[in-house]
């Protein structure tokens, strides 16, 4: 109990210093701001998804009502796909500003559709968002540094240092006590708004605990560094300069270096080549003998070998066959494009161990399902869905089933990825 009571004694003493109280209030304010804007943004996204799901259904039904054959129905009906935000996304908006989390696709070649980027205003994306992950990874270290760097130097400058040591009894107890009191209060100031936000968003307890733990560990790291630096017999301003320099190194310079080196080491095919390849194959098909296209198609779908004869200048099954062959031709490029992104991400996750702020940021995005992996996993669900649509359509075309508008209601429906397991 004496530890707790002396913690409170030190705290009440420290809070009487305006600068310290001011920094703690700033932490509380900025954290609250980040949480409230994060919640608003996610609410916006959810509302947009809700509106789009309705509009998508209405538009598709409208298109289908006018359709007169299977091929035409598939051509004119688009399907909304999306990645719903998780229950923690409000705390780490992550890549949702940069990577598309919604696509509307039809049964034409997918490679021509999936690379479209329906992203937010680029200049806003460039300015960045003040999400909780930013507060915790970038700002919190600076606050720790500002709070702890002149614990001793400040007292030394005020001429109280030796007196304090003498009256505190054990000289080892006083400074750790003050530092702990400050860091614990800072942790509460940062986490309190997060806990409220998590309660409002219904975040799983395990995630809340994990984030809280991460925040504390990160604060402790910077507290240890600041405490160690603060123990040197130098002027407070010199210590502060050094610490801010160290922060700059870990938060900006090292990450920038790793980013540039990773992007140079792991090359990714030019996106333009994927769509150009796909387009050439799709369009060349019109001028090629039809059996060339159908052979390439049957190689992938041997089950339709006996139905692959095309007699008329235009048949839907040939049309969708060359759409599929277009995708097949771009497959290698497209796979290595995604593979490259994944490899870069993997390298970045290893490199993150040299920089705690980056590690925290990436871990939060990972927990929130707003990282590169989640974006790629979403893309996979779109590809799978497109494949299911094709599987639904092909029998209708190749077996020449008579058109039945009512059967259109059996079209596969998109199942969004459940990010909150």
């Amino acid at each position: 109990m004496t530890v707790v009571s002396s913690l409170f004694r030190e705290l009440s003493f420290l809070l009487r210093q305006r600068a310290i109280a001011g920094l703690l209030v700033l932490a509380l304010l900025l954290s609250s701001l980040s949480i409230s804007t994060g919640l608003t943004e996610i609410a916006h996204q959810r509302a947009a998804i809700e509106r789009m799901v309705l509009a998508d259904k209405a538009d598709r039904e409208n298109a289908m009502a006018k359709a007169e054959d299977w091929g035409g129905a598939a051509y004119s009906s688009f399907h909304l796909t999306y990645l719903p935000p998780s229950d923690l996304a409000f705390a780490a908006l992550g890549q949702r500003d940069l990577s598309p989390w919604k696509h509307r696709v039809n049964l034409l070649a997918l490679e021509g559709q999936i690379h479209a980027a329906d992203t937010a205003n680029p200049e806003l994306a460039l300015a960045g968002r003040i999400d909780f992950a930013f507060i915790v990874s970038v700002l919190a270290p600076l606050l720790v540094i500002l709070l702890l760097h002149d614990l001793r130097a400040g007292e030394r400058a005020a001429g109280r240092h030796d007196l304090l040591i003498a009256t505190a009894g054990r000289s080892g107890g006083l400074w750790p006590m003050r530092a702990s009191a400050l860091v614990a209060t800072l942790a509460v100031c940062l986490l309190l708004p997060f806990w409220v936000g998590a309660a409002l968003a219904g975040t799983q307890l395990a995630k809340v605990l994990a984030v809280s733990l991460l925040v504390c560990v990160h604060l402790l790291f910077w507290a240890a560094v600041s405490y160690w630096a603060g123990a040197r017999a130098a002027a407070g301003s010199v210590i502060l300069t050094g610490l801010v320099g160290f922060w700059l190194l870990l938060t900006a310079i090292l990450p920038a270096i790793t980013r540039v080196s990773i992007e140079r080491a792991i090359s990714i095919p030019a996106g333009g080549d994927i769509v150009l390849t796909q387009r050439e194959v799709v369009n060349d098909a019109w001028d090629l003998p039809k059996n060339v296209t159908m052979e390439a198609f049957v190689a992938r779908h041997p089950e339709w070998e006996n139905e692959a004869q095309i007699d008329r200048p235009f048949e839907w099954k040939w049309y969708y066959a060359f759409q599929q062959v277009g995708d097949q031709s771009a497959e290698t490029l497209s796979t290595s494009y995604r593979q490259g992104i994944l490899e870069r991400d993997r390298a970045a996750s290893l490199a993150a161990f040299v920089s705690p702020p980056v590690l925290i940021d990436r871990t939060l995005q990972g927990l929130a399902g707003t990282d590169t992996r989640a974006a790629l996993a979403y893309e996979t669900t779109v590809r799978d869905f497109h494949a299911r649509l094709r599987t639904w359509l092909y029998p209708k075309l190749f077996l020449e089933e008579p058109f039945d508008r009512a059967a259109l209601s059996d079209l596969p429906a998109y199942q969004p990825l459940v990010v909150d397991e």
Binding site: S137, L248, T258, E280, S355
Partner: protein
């Protein structure tokens, strides 16, 4: 004047003896130089690669075989946004916007392939162009070197003797200011060199001058702020703490708050959602693929009257081509209206964001530099409009060919009669009329003009802080 130079030289002597100051200066100079080199190389590579893709796209379009012209409408074309010369220093929105657009009939596609999506995510400050290094981190260097310029003299007790020797407070401050400004000038050196390269690549002198001028003014704002805080603070420690907190607020926090505010005050729909409204409106219009669509009855009647014939078969032009042309024009009018609305929303958001430049000089600088470099949202909008102009031109050119070079009788039988289908293929000579596309940012005059508002914000900051410095000088009487 001599005294001012002496004071400045003395400050430099102090810095040269301080290992910390020299380390910080060296680090930042290496950072600016490295980032300038890497960014310049990357942007030059990108420019070359995209120009190559552009000419390849034009080449393949022009070398397509004889075809039905409407096939070429769907074959489509690609345009690429090549970065302007000053993007070597400030790439602006380039990495977060798609760099190519697929142009085809009946649709306005979104730009594809943003670099940021393929990048290795390494925290929130890993993107370091020279512009970012200068706007975010150069102020930190100036703070590290300058926080004690005045407080040191006061704390060491050298201020009194200096003033007693007849050095006026203003001369002292001017000397210290000159020393600090010379540090700022040093960090700008790599930028000046890169800007010279940009001029050699065709950038105008005026835009480059405004571009560099905005960086200089921004750093001068920081010099003034540092001197003011340093003169007004009693102790070194408090002067440094205040400056670091101010830096955090002005550089890290306010720009992001501004982005949050802009996004929530002027919310924008995504393209997919906005497109539902477009689809709704288009549904009431005729489908240009279907000449029998009742929406074209009036057009048909007018044509029959104009050429004084009884049926579409007797028209001297291909009715299907005319329908395609009319439908495309009507549809494009709708698409453009929605596209302009979307861009207007983005401009509203951005001007809201930029108005925070009154509060954060870092935001004002970003606006000035992106606008003068032609890498801001306006330049991207120009790319979208230019791309749309190319799209409309080539599609309507093909529709004209469709109307004038194809027999209606063949056209309606081409899906069932292979011979008629063969006759509907027009000569590939028609594809050769496609014009070369090379994206250029808004003209230099427009960019310079656009940069005046943010420059005025920086100017206001400087004037305010200069006043504060003069005010603080009065307090230096001892």
């Amino acid at each position: 004047m001599r005294t001012i130079l002496l004071v400045a030289a003395d400050e430099w002597r102090f810095w040269r003896r301080s290992r910390l100051a020299m380390l910080a200066l060296g680090l930042l100079l290496v950072l600016v130089a490295a980032s300038a080199t890497l960014t310049a190389l990357r942007v030059a590579n990108e420019a070359e690669a995209r120009a190559l893709l552009q000419s390849e796209a034009e080449e393949t379009y022009r070398s397509q075989p004889d075809r039905h012209p409407h096939r070429m409408v769907h074959y489509g074309h690609y345009v690429f946004r090549t970065p302007p010369p000053l993007a070597m220093i400030d790439p602006g929105v380039d990495p977060v916007t798609g760099q190519s657009i697929f142009l085809e009939g009946h649709r306005q596609n979104a730009a594809m392939f943003a670099d940021a999506k393929t990048g290795a995510t390494a925290g929130q400050l890993a993107d370091m162009s020279p512009a970012v290094v200068l706007s975010l981190f150069a102020p930190l260097l100036l703070i590290a070197m300058g926080y004690s310029v005045m407080t040191r003299e006061r704390e060491n007790g050298t201020l009194g003797p200096l003033l007693a020797q007849g050095v006026s407070p203003l001369t002292l401050i001017a000397g210290k200011g000159l020393a600090l400004a010379s540090v700022a000038g040093l960090t700008l050196l790599p930028l000046v060199l890169t800007a010279a390269v940009a001029i050699s690549k065709g950038e105008t002198l005026a835009a480059t001058a405004v571009f560099l001028g905005s960086f200089s003014l921004y750093l001068l704002v920081w010099c003034a702020l540092i001197i003011a805080v340093s003169s007004l603070s009693a102790r070194r420690a408090s002067s440094l703490t205040i400056l670091v907190v101010v830096w955090i607020l002005l550089v890290l926090i306010v720009p992001r708050i501004a982005a949050n505010v802009a996004a929530s005050v002027a919310p924008a729909q995504g393209k997919i959602e906005a497109d539902f409204a477009v689809l709704n409106e288009l549904r009431s219009m005729g489908d240009g693929h279907n000449a029998a669509d009742p929406a074209f009855e009036q057009l048909k009647a007018n044509l029959l009257l104009q050429y004084d014939v009884a049926s579409v078969e007797d028209l001297p032009v291909n009715f299907r081509g005319i329908v395609a042309e009319t439908a495309e024009a009507d549809l494009t009018a709708v698409l453009n209206r929605f596209a302009e609305e979307r861009m207007a929303t983005e401009v509203r958001q951005v001007s809201l964001l930029r108005s925070f430049g009154w509060i954060s000089p870092a935001l004002a600088l970003r606006e000035a530099s992106m606008t003068s470099a032609g890498t801001g949202v306006e330049a991207h909008h120009k790319f979208l409009r230019d791309a749309e102009a190319v799209r409309f031109d080539f599609v309507q050119g093909l529709n004209r060919v469709h109307a004038e070079q194809l027999a209606y009788a063949d056209d309606i039988k081409r899906s069932s009669d292979p011979e008629a289908e063969r006759r509907t293929r027009v000569s590939s000579e028609n594809w050769k009329v496609l014009e070369d596309f090379h994206f250029v940012p808004p003209p230099s005059d427009t960019r310079v003009e656009g940069a005046l508002a943010p420059l005025a914000r920086l100017g206001a900051w400087f004037a305010l802080l200069f006043g504060l410095v003069l005010f603080s000088a009065r307090g230096l009487k001892l």
